[in-house]
């Protein structure tokens, strides 16, 4: 694609050549700013053994503006809502142009390991996590088995 910044080309090359463990990101052929992403649920978390699909889009302003990332697989997590939108500071006000696709996806993977119900996006899930963490984790596990195959 003509006019694609060097930054995006290089990042894509590195992602393909040296992918982060448990993470894949593949650009679409017809739009090199649009990526199909998969993240493996981290071991030891209720999302373990799940394979989560996400979409990632690099806006025109990237890297001055953060990439747009969304879960496509249903997930029971206090910081991810029904539409798959993610509440993560580096995707909003804590974005820095020095961050990359790889670091963003690693941060999302880390968010799966350590949900933060004090800063919730899905308020009902967050309430569940705060009141009965064990039971909430059980639901997360169930959903992982149901949807993230």
């Amino acid at each position: 694609m003509a006019g694609l910044p060097k930054r995006i080309i290089k990042e894509t090359e590195r992602l393909m050549a040296d992918p982060a463990p448990g993470i894949t990101a593949t650009p679409h052929d017809d739009n090199l700013r649009y990526f199909d992403v998969t993240i493996a649920g981290p071991d030891g978390s209720p999302f373990a053994a799940g394979n989560f699909r996400l979409e990632l889009f690099l806006p025109e302003e990237y890297p001055m503006a953060p990439p747009k990332v969304r879960f496509l697989t249903k997930i029971y997590h206090p910081n991810i809502d029904k539409l798959g939108r993610i509440c993560l500071d580096i995707l909003k006000d804590k974005w820095s142009p020095a961050l990359q696709i790889r670091t963003v996806l690693l941060s999302i993977q880390a968010l799966l390991s350590s949900p933060n119900p004090d800063d919730p996006l899905a308020t009902d899930v967050a309430k569940h996590y705060k009141e009965d963490e064990k039971d909430a984790q059980r639901v997360s596990q169930e959903w992982t088995q149901l949807y993230a195959k």
């Binding site: 820095s96 142009p97 020095a98």
Partner: protein, 566 residues
Amino acid sequence: MSDVEYSDDDYYDDEDMYDGTQDDADDDGMDMDNEDFQIDAGPKRKPYETEHESLSQAEVERLMRREIEQTRNILGTDESVAGLLLRHMSWNKERLIEQYMDNPSKLTDAAGITIPEPPSPASAAPVRSRSSRPSSKPLPHKRPSPSKKDEPFVCPICFDDAPGLETSGLDCNHQYCIGCWTAYLSSKIRDEGEHFIRCMAEGCSIVAPDCFVHASLLRDEPETWPRFKELLARHYVSCNPSLKFCPHPGCTNTVSCPGASSKSSLLSIVPTVSCGARGIPGQEKGPDSITVAREHKFCFGCPIDSDHRPVICNVAKMWMKKCADDSETANWIKSNTKECPKCNSTIEKNGGCNHMTCKKCKNEFCWVCMGPWSDHGTSWYSCNRYEEKAGIEARDAQSRSRASLERYLHYYNRWANHEQSAKLSLELYKKTEKKMEEMQITSSLTWIEVQFMKKAVEEADKCRETLKWTYAMAYYLCRGNHKELFEDNQRDLEHAVEELSELLEQPIESDTIPTLRQKVTDKTVYVSKRNEIVLDDTANGFLEGRWKWNVHVDGFDDPDPADLAF
């Protein structure tokens, strides 16, 4: 017209007046002396006027520089550090000095300023352990990998590795290419309106000093620098309760009004202020220059960007909220047509005057109350007063609510009508202006001889603004002698304004101009006087605590249960 007078030195003479910070009793004493002196020397301020000064952006910047200079002298830092510290502390100089004296490095860390530390690792260690939070805040002097001579520099943002790439960085020494810095700063300033811009490195808290921002923008984006300076001035203004930025689009002036800086002052004054500019910058030379170039009037105490005298901010806000809540009814009322009370023809109002004559049946009536006009032309004029419905009807709950709605509609109708009339009279003026221009060409009339129209339209416009808000006030005023006197004044003003409006709609012919001019000029003077009486009386009423409300108003005593309107 809105040109800012940078060269005007008058403002600087008594600069101490604008010193919004806590310079203690000494300064206050001086200010008092100044005020006394001004009252003796200048014309006396009217009770409904609030003393205020307009400041251009350059003057605000002068005030900022002065504060930075003072802080710099006290703290012994350089100018850039003092400026960043003040911005970090929301320009609260006292708290800044207190916290700085307490623990300077803690404050400079929080404000994103690097203080040169001894390079020995021993002194860096305690800093590391102090920040126990898991945040990955790097040490101020932690260098990224020092670039080796043989390896070419690659910008970590754009991955450009061209030889001889120009780079720069803040005190944290995170190096990026100039192009990325410019794009980053510009996106922060333009897209996010940010003036406190941190380093591009992830988690780095070092803030870019002004000189760095300037240098980075200078070459490729010089047009972004003024925007940055405006953001700085706006931040300073927003931190100072006695300053407010002019809300009119495109205006960069600031108004200083120390008399209205506290919440309690707003219970007794309506601080209508003006930044001195008119119209929209850059559009002064449009075809409608005179009529469109309205003065930048706004209320210092609330977000209403027009003159809402005589009613105080709290009550004006209640009224606006009520009107918004009742918007469905309001929409219905606002429909621009009414039916002739005699022949039921649908009539559209096409001028500012409320004296209607039906084209079909020649019936003359008042647009507002739909009653015959003959009652209005003489001393029986009583269109402004709502006649409370008889008590029998009020016993029935349904009719009570109907009466309450009717009561509201009475006031709302008149409120909305004055707004509409003001708009229409401006349109009428545009037409008249054109006609007068033609007459200057075809007859012997001079420019000066037709100026009376402009003054009259402006005065009528001003009075309709007052009248509009008197209805909001009357709606909430509790019944009694004071309200009746208020409504008498309101009626006199309304009557006079209607007469003036009617004069303005008379056809202009060159042979009748001298008489018309005399009449209009006399009426304008009279109307202006009536307006002053209304504003004077209400302003004094607030100062004396004379006004009582029929609903709860923050800051006032609760109304007597007998006075409750609803």
